[in-house]
């Protein structure tokens, strides 16, 4: 599938949303999947930033590859036998919100909170993905169930994504400012979402 076709498919599938959290992301009118100055090289450079953020523990821990959430800066397996469950919000009796409430507490070992607390669907795992794999995954609407516009809105507006920059005590926030990350994401999309070569860092 060419990149253009992928982009079209992404737009077409835009309604099949399984977003990270409510409220549903709103499309960003600034994002147009067209070439920008610099083209693919600038897009790839922007993707470096995107990749660093998405694989940071604050993002990756709730985008795990397996059926267990991860936690803390060392991305250890979540304590208490907590599992993904069929709707990515925990299993019966041990839902995410059994412990995680709407806001953080002031101690690192109390469950942090946000108005919505959940895992990303397994198809959107960041854990263990190379830059190429992650770029391909983000470009595949069958996996993301989002258009690029919706992805941009997700990283820009979503409250649980935003928690990554205000995770409370004992957790490192995402080291890149959210605006910078969103700008990089947009730049990557605007450059027609170039895919890094195999073996690139």
């Amino acid at each position: 599938m060419t990149r253009t076709l992928r982009g079209l498919a992404a737009l077409a599938l835009g309604t099949a949303l399984l977003g990270c959290s409510e409220p549903d992301p709103q499309p960003d009118p600034e994002v147009e999947p067209v070439a920008v100055a610099g083209g693919a090289p600038a897009g790839l450079q922007a993707f470096d930033t995107v990749y660093a953020v998405l694989t940071h523990p604050r993002c990756m821990n709730c985008h795990p590859a397996g059926d267990r959430p991860l936690q803390f800066d060392d991305s250890r397996s979540h304590a208490l036998n907590v599992q993904r469950g069929p709707d990515d919000r925990g299993r019966v009796g041990m839902r995410c919100t059994t412990c995680h409430q709407q806001a953080n507490h002031d101690s690192p070992h109390l469950p942090p909170g946000s108005p919505v607390w959940r895992l990303a669907p397994k198809a959107q795992a960041f854990e263990g993905r190379s830059p190429r794999e992650l770029a391909l995954q983000l470009s595949d609407p069958e996996q993301t169930h989002m258009t690029f516009e919706e992805l941009v809105a997700h990283v820009r507006d979503d409250a649980l994504v935003g928690w990554g920059w205000a995770p409370g005590p004992g957790r490192a926030p995402v080291p890149v400012a959210r605006e910078e990350f969103v700008a990089a994401f947009k730049a990557w999309v605007a450059a027609e979402a170039p895919i890094p070569e195999e073996g690139s860092k």
């Binding site: 304590a79 208490l80 036998n81 070992h109």
Partner: protein, 743 residues
């Protein structure tokens, strides 16, 4: 009878605190109460029967999950021929007339089974006598059965209630004249019966320590020194007093060494709710002074203990000549083992409510030892013990922690200061950081095998912070009761044997935790025996039986100070036939079965608290060194069993407790401060980690032994031995953490 504070403490040091429980009781105290016949007949301290037939039996031991609060009254009811369904169980406050109430050392049945039988039989005799007198027939023709006395010849019956007026006028029979029921007539003992509290617990209506409410009561948290013995220098409560609900702060005096069960001292935050008290304490700014324990580091201390056991110590027991034995051995080997500090972590943290008035102090607490609570509060307040009443609530777990009533003294001191009832609540952080810890220990073993693969030489040394340090400041020498717990009673038949103890100081409060020193002594000895089996190329279970030798009573040799859990060896010998028996049974049911790759079986056996336990643990170790325990089999012979279902429950619980300490438990200390603070860093087993459990009780007529603790000691070594069988790694330090597989 009365126990003075001085006498009480001497008892702790001499006989051993946890095993203090030899009944301080003289003959059964029985008295016929004078008064109008409409009132209940107070047949004994433990027993009252009302004219309507309602039987009230006092539970004088504390309920922390063993079922003892139902068990001892059921023994009495059985002997009385009372219907348990018409029995009300009443919890006794602290009262020295009951003898020891220190619910500790797995000795409630051991020490009070006979007493309960005698109380029940005495009252039964008097009811039969009352019926005989009423009917004008010989007492020999009257038999109590099912809550009534019957005269077969005339087919007459009178309910217990109808007999109390007459019974109350009679003289109690001599103890020697009592006829105890033969086993064939037992109704409850050995058969099983539900516990009194099961239904109220399931409805959420049971009263635990922090559930007691008094009008006008205040909720209290206490800021305590992070390092044992650090004095309070100053504090600033400005921000604390701004927290809504916080009413005042109270300075509590520090303790004077030895710390005993005294309140630690500090700054108490008094509030109108628990949450306000917790929040208020977080805002408190406290400066603590220097302590001699500032330099305590548990990692460095472990090395210090290992150094201690590399030098000769005090010889506790000796046979033959270990040096000659080793010299003549075909194969020699040595190993060192360590175990860390442990916290009790009962699900209910310590808490107590006290109300001090002109009349004295009344307290409500989840305490294993209400008389010690009376003593401690009396000493703290400068009151005579008689003016201190301690009511015992249900305990949300004890495991030894709640036999030390420091938290009750805190509540009393705060109540006196504020002139209102004060409920002191410990958070989990308080609990883990201010415990009476299970001591850290190191052991060194040196062994020798002959050509035939038999043990011919065994030397062991242990060093650990002694419990005596809690009662005598600076003590580095354990008491005989500490050695008794798995060291001096080493059961193996080795011709050349030496057991030594090496001194060690303490830098935190040391106490006793479920099965106490048995935990490290048996971890070391049973692991080393397994190492010997492998050195001999023998099957570990066969080697264990061979090393126990012929069925016989263990001879400790002359000069060994062995308190035998406060019972005469003549009544409660160390019976190696019974120990062999449980090994053979567990071997038959669990040993040598087919296992998946990466799984292994380990075995260990030990006698403690007059009970004989053998366990086979299955371990599974994966490539990352993660341990899973799919199944545990345990066989126990504790003599006469009163309530089999509760004994099974204790064994199930002991297995889980043993696995928690084997795989997770470790308190570490840096610069005198405990590092761990809550269950995220002091883990205990959870349901998804818990094994399939099979418990077998051996039927026995032997005198009843303890049930609460003896299941614990074999678990950790059986698991370590299973891990060796599973992956070839010999782990000699608790908690057990295999290395990931290389390559």
């Amino acid at each position: 009878m009365k126990t003075t504070r001085r006498g009480f403490l001497r008892g702790l040091l001499g006989g051993g605190a946890l095993v203090l429980g030899a009944p301080l009781l003289g003959p059964v105290e029985l008295f016929a109460q004078e008064g109008p016949a409409a009132e209940a007949w107070r047949a004994s301290l433990w027993l009252a029967i009302a004219p309507d037939g309602a039987v009230t039996i006092v539970a004088h031991r504390s309920e922390m999950g063993t079922g003892i609060r139902t068990c001892l009254p059921a023994v009495l009811a059985d002997e009385l021929e009372a219907d348990l369904g018409q029995v009300v169980i009443e919890q006794a406050p602290g009262d020295a007339r009951y003898g020891s109430q220190n619910t500790d050392g797995s000795c409630s049945i051991v020490n009070f089974y006979e007493t309960m039988r005698e109380v029940g039989a005495t009252a039964r005799h008097m009811l039969e006598q009352a019926a005989a007198q009423t009917w004008g027939v010989p007492v020999g023709e009257c038999r109590a059965r099912e809550h009534a006395v019957h005269h077969a010849a005339s087919e007459r019956s009178l309910g217990f209630g109808a007999l109390v007026a007459v019974a109350a006028t009679l003289q109690a029979p001599d103890k020697g004249a009592l006829r105890l029921k033969p086993r064939s007539e037992w109704r409850y003992v050995g058969k099983g019966f539900p516990t009194q509290d099961a239904a109220t617990i399931a409805r959420g209506e049971a009263t635990f320590g922090a559930d007691v409410r008094l009008t006008g009561m205040k909720f209290v948290t206490v800021a305590r020194a992070p390092v044992l013995g650090a004095p309070l220098v100053r504090y600033d409560a400005t921000a604390t007093l701004e927290v809504p609900g916080v009413e005042r702060v109270v300075e509590l005096p520090g303790f004077k060494p030895p710390h005993l069960f005294q309140a630690l001292g500090g700054v108490a935050v008094v509030a109108s709710s628990t949450w306000a008290a917790i929040q208020g304490r977080r805002k408190l700014k406290v400066t603590w002074g220097e302590s001699p324990n500032d330099g305590y580091d548990s990692q460095a201390f472990r090395e210090q203990l290992l150094e201690a056991v590399r030098a000769p110590g005090q010889v506790l027991r000796e046979a033959g000549d270990v040096a000659e034995g080793r010299a003549a051995a075909a194969k020699t080997f040595a190993a060192e083992y360590t175990t860390p500090l442990l916290a009790h972590a009962p699900m209910e943290p310590p808490c107590a409510l006290a109300h001090v008035t002109e009349a004295g102090c009344e307290a409500w607490a989840p305490t294993q030892n209400p008389q010690a609570a009376q003593d401690t509060v009396a000493a703290a307040l400068g009151l005579p013990k008689e003016q201190v009443t301690v009511h015992v609530t249900l305990l949300g777990g004890g495991f030894g922690r709640k036999s030390k009533p420091d938290y009750v003294a805190e509540a009393a001191l705060v109540s006196r200061a504020i002139g209102a009832p004060a409920q002191v609540v410990w958070t989990r952080e308080d609990d883990l950081r201010h415990d009476y810890y299970h001591a850290p220990a190191a052991m060194r073993f040196e062994g020798g095998l002959d050509e035939g693969g038999r043990l011919v030489s065994w030397q062991q040394r242990s060093a650990f912070s002694p419990i005596t340090s809690t009662f005598a400041a600076g003590s580095t020498q354990p008491a005989p009761f500490e050695h008794m717990l798995g060291a001096t009673d080493l059961p193996y038949a080795v011709p050349n044997l030496r057991i030594e103890s090496c001194p060690a100081p303490a830098h935190v409060r040391i106490g006793w935790l479920r099965s106490v020193c048995n935990i490290w002594h048996v971890f070391g000895a049973s692991s080393f025996l397994d190492e010997a089996a492998h050195a001999a190329g023998a099957d570990p279970a066969e080697f264990l039986l061979q090393s126990l030798g012929e069925p016989r009573e263990l001879e400790l040799g002359a000069g060994v100070n062995y308190p035998n859990y406060n019972k005469p060896l003549a009544d409660y010998p160390i019976d190696l036939g019974r120990l062999r028996g449980v090994v053979e049974r567990v071997k038959a049911r669990a040993w040598g079965r087919e296992l998946p790759a990466g799984h292994g079986l380990g075995i260990a056996a030990h006698r403690s608290f007059h009970a004989y336990v053998a366990a086979v643990v299955e371990a599974a170790v994966d490539d990352r060194g993660r341990v899973r325990v799919p199944r545990v089999d345990l066989v126990v012979d504790l003599g006469l069993v009163i309530n089999p279902d509760r004994v099974r429950a204790q064994m199930e619980g002991s297995i889980v407790f043993g696995l928690s300490l084997a795989l997770h438990g470790e308190i570490s200390v840096e610069q005198g401060r405990v590092v761990q603070s809550n269950f995220h860093d002091y883990a205990v087993q959870r349901i998804h980690e818990a094994p399939e459990i099979h418990v077998e009780l051996v039927e026995s007529d032997a005198l009843p032994g303890g049930a609460g603790e003896p299941g614990v000691p074999p678990i950790a070594p059986a698991l370590a031995n299973a891990i060796f069988a599973a992956c070839g790694q010999r782990l000699r330090d608790l908690p057990l953490q295999p290395e990931p597989r290389r390559g």
